[in-house]
């Protein structure tokens, strides 16, 4: 938005600069021309006339002109004659004096020819002993300023006058320029605003008129295309998330039947142990499916920003503790004992978070340890806090993972977020969701092996003030 005044400032600056430069160049060229065109002081007609006057020698027989001056005059095709002070008659003349030149002069004639012309020839005078020498230069060789007469004040203040005139000129030109520019830039203003809006993805509509209507129309069209594309993308994402939500919804009812009956059979006293065990496998696998459905739905919603994050002030310890207790209450066989390693002195860890999502993150981590350790394992959970951050660590003493896979888990995107076709072995969504939830809360996550040889996930969230 600040581009326009900047533009005008720059244009005006360039204009002023070029104006001053132009003047300067003009002055230089003029001075150069004057120096080149006007005769040097020695060879100016006035000087030549004065020198000629001095070069006469008066004698009894009249005047004689020095030889060198005489040749010089001849070379330049200049004629000359001398008028006597007393008689006002020509007493000496060069040979090339035209016939049309009169032979006697009045004082007013002399006055005229000293400032002007004689019969069209520019004339110059010099003083001799008893008269005056008049040099006649060829016609049209010089122009004489015959009637120069100026007010003295005008010349006395000429520098100021020139300065004022120049200033007024510059101001007028600038004014014309600025007005013209503003009128020209007026239609540019909505265009620049339009382009700015376009860059932040807002819908743009500029009136299509004036000099730049073509550009306006193009911007409008671009905006329309962008909006349409955005809408389509949004539609696609919504459709995908809805599709996933729909599928997971539709699977829930049949799966509850499987789980319900299998759960009953598992505890049926009339069945053999082997049959009960089979039922238990069904239960366990359906639970896996249940987790997968929940994860799939949440992951897609988090990915497309469709999951509302209902942040409120929470005690992180209470949240983690509840999840741990839920697992302990569920795990009747005691195959996955959970050890709570949080310092008992630490009772409150205030954070701003969505309670349900955080519970989900922690429970996914615990579930992850369970899923990857069929033989059972011990799970260690701790919450620690420093001044600014709270950290949750979930680890186990199970089989762990290869360094290679851990590197991959930390760095490469999940296959669900991968834009390439991948044939890589696919892993669950549990960790992806934890990552998404942690990052939605402005936290960081590290996945690694621990000193027990098992898996360790550590996430850190900013403490609320």
């Amino acid at each position: 938005m600040n581009n326009l005044p900047k533009l005008i400032r720059r244009f005006t600056g360039i204009l002023l600069l070029s104006f001053i430069l132009l003047l300067l160049v003009n002055f230089v060229v003029l001075a150069f021309l004057m120096a080149w065109q006007s005769p040097s002081v020695a060879s100016s007609p006035y000087n030549v006339a004065i020198q000629t006057g001095k070069a006469f020698q008066a004698s009894e027989n009249g005047y004689t002109l020095q030889e060198d001056i005489s040749t010089q005059l001849k070379q330049q095709d200049v004629w000359a004659f001398v008028v006597d002070n007393d008689t006002l008659q020509i007493v000496w003349k060069t040979e090339n004096l035209p016939d049309t030149i009169p032979t006697s002069y009045t004082l007013s004639d002399i006055a005229d020819l000293s400032v002007g012309y004689l019969d069209g020839y520019p004339t110059y005078t010099g003083k001799t002993e008893n008269g005056i020498v008049i040099l006649g230069y060829p016609k049209d060789s010089f122009w004489k300023h015959t009637r120069a007469s100026w007010n003295y004040n005008f010349f006395a203040h000429l520098p100021q006058i020139i300065f004022i005139v120049l200033t007024v000129n510059i101001v007028v030109i600038l004014l014309i320029y600025v007005i013209a520019n503003v009128r020209f830039l007026k239609p540019v203003k909505p265009i620049t605003k339009g382009i700015q809006d376009l860059s932040v993805g807002e819908p743009v509509h500029i009136p299509e008129k004036g000099l730049l209507s073509d550009i306006s129309a193009n911007i409008n069209r671009t905006s329309d295309i962008l909006q349409e594309q955005r809408q389509q993308l949004k539609k696609k994402e919504t459709a995908r998330a809805n599709w996933i939500a729909g599928v997971s919804h539709d699977i829930r009812t049949p799966l509850s039947m499987v789980m319900g009956y299998a759960g009953q059979l598992k505890d049926d006293a009339n069945l053999t142990d082997e049959e009960c065990q089979k039922a238990e496998v069904i239960v366990k696998q359906s639970k896996r499916m249940q987790n997968l459905i929940n994860d799939l739905n949440l992951a897609s919603k988090l990915e497309y920003d469709m999951q509302p994050i209902n942040s409120a002030k929470q005690n992180l310890i209470a949240i983690v503790r509840q999840v741990v207790v839920d697992f302990i209450n569920m795990d009747i066989e005691d195959r996955y004992p959970i050890e709570w390693q949080t310092d008992e002195a630490l009772t409150v860890c205030p954070i701003n978070a969505d309670k349900d999502l955080l519970k989900r993150a922690v429970s996914n981590l615990i579930q992850n340890s369970i899923n990857h350790n069929e033989q059972g394992c011990k799970i260690y959970i701790s919450v620690t806090a420093d001044n600014d951050y709270c950290t949750v660590i979930v680890s186990d003493d199970g089989v762990g993972e290869t360094d290679e896979l851990i590197e991959k888990l930390n760095k490469t995107p999940h296959y669900m977020l991968c834009d390439k076709n991948t044939t890589e072995q696919r892993h669950g969504l549990g960790l992806l969701i934890v990552k998404q939830i942690v990052s939605a809360h402005g936290g960081t996550i590290v996945i690694t092996n621990n000193s027990y040889g098992g898996f360790l996930v550590k996430f850190t969230l900013p403490k609320s003030k």
């Binding site: 799966l255 509850s256 319900g260 009953q264 005690n315 009772t347 409150v348």
Partner: protein, 232 residues
């Protein structure tokens, strides 16, 4: 757990899928509930509710002629309601709880989970009809807010009553320190851990034969407490 008195409660079950109804009924019957009525539509449910006078309603959210939320508003029976639904969305959950639902179970579920929730709701809603809760060496009478140990009647304070109720609702399960604080002191109970320990100590003195070696109210270190009731 001596919660046999709950098994006679009349339960109304509403879901549009026959097979699911059959399954839930079988789960409930196996657990010992004997008065169960089912309905597949809002209309049927309202009819049954009138004649059957349920003491607990288990409702699906999506029904062919309406939804469970509006059905719940129409029922207005003063009895607890549990939603059993395939809609796992948080919005739906909040809506259900906002209307005063007592619990919300998302499909799929394990029979044990469903039964636990139902028992917890019934216990909470009909606690006044509760006979004595048998513990090892003592009994709790929630109605009179007292403990009977060795023939002696020991009164419970209000906080002790609240804490024991919360523990009893989840008998056999760990209740976190935070949940207990919330039960006794309300929302966001930060910094009540020491008070809680003091109260637990006093409760133990009342219910345990040997308070320094608790059997009925056990500590799960760092996490919470568990009440172990005798019986069923």
């Amino acid at each position: 757990m001596n919660s046999d008195y709950l098994l006679n409660k009349r339960i109304l079950l509403v879901d549009d899928e026959q097979e699911l109804l059959d399954m839930v009924v079988s789960i409930l019957r196996e657990a010992g509930f004997c008065q169960i009525e089912t309905a597949k539509t809002v209309k049927d449910a309202l009819d049954s509710a009138n004649s059957f006078q349920p003491e607990l309603a288990i409702l699906d959210v999506m029904l062919p002629d309406g939804d469970g939320f509006s059905l719940m508003e129409k029922l207005k029976g003063g009895y607890p309601v549990l939603f059993l639904t395939a809609c796992g969305e948080d919005d739906d959950k909040f809506k259900g709880f906002g209307l005063g639902a007592d619990d919300y179970v998302v499909k799929p579920f394990l029979p044990k989970e469903l039964l636990f929730r139902i028992t917890a709701i019934l216990r909470r809603s009909y606690k006044d009809e509760n006979p004595l809760v048998k513990l090892h060496g003592s009994q709790i009478d929630f109605l009179r807010a007292e403990v009977i140990k060795n023939g002696e009647h020991i009164p419970l304070t209000a906080k002790e009553h609240d804490l024991l109720s919360a523990l009893y609702r989840n008998a056999g399960r760990i209740v976190t320190i935070d949940a207990l604080c919330e039960a006794a002191w309300g929302d966001n109970p930060f910094g009540y851990e020491n008070s809680l320990m003091a109260h637990i100590r006093r409760i133990r003195e009342k219910i345990e034969l040997n308070p320094s070696r608790p059997v009925s109210l056990v500590t799960i270190k760092g996490l919470g407490y568990k009440l172990i009731a005798e019986g069923r």
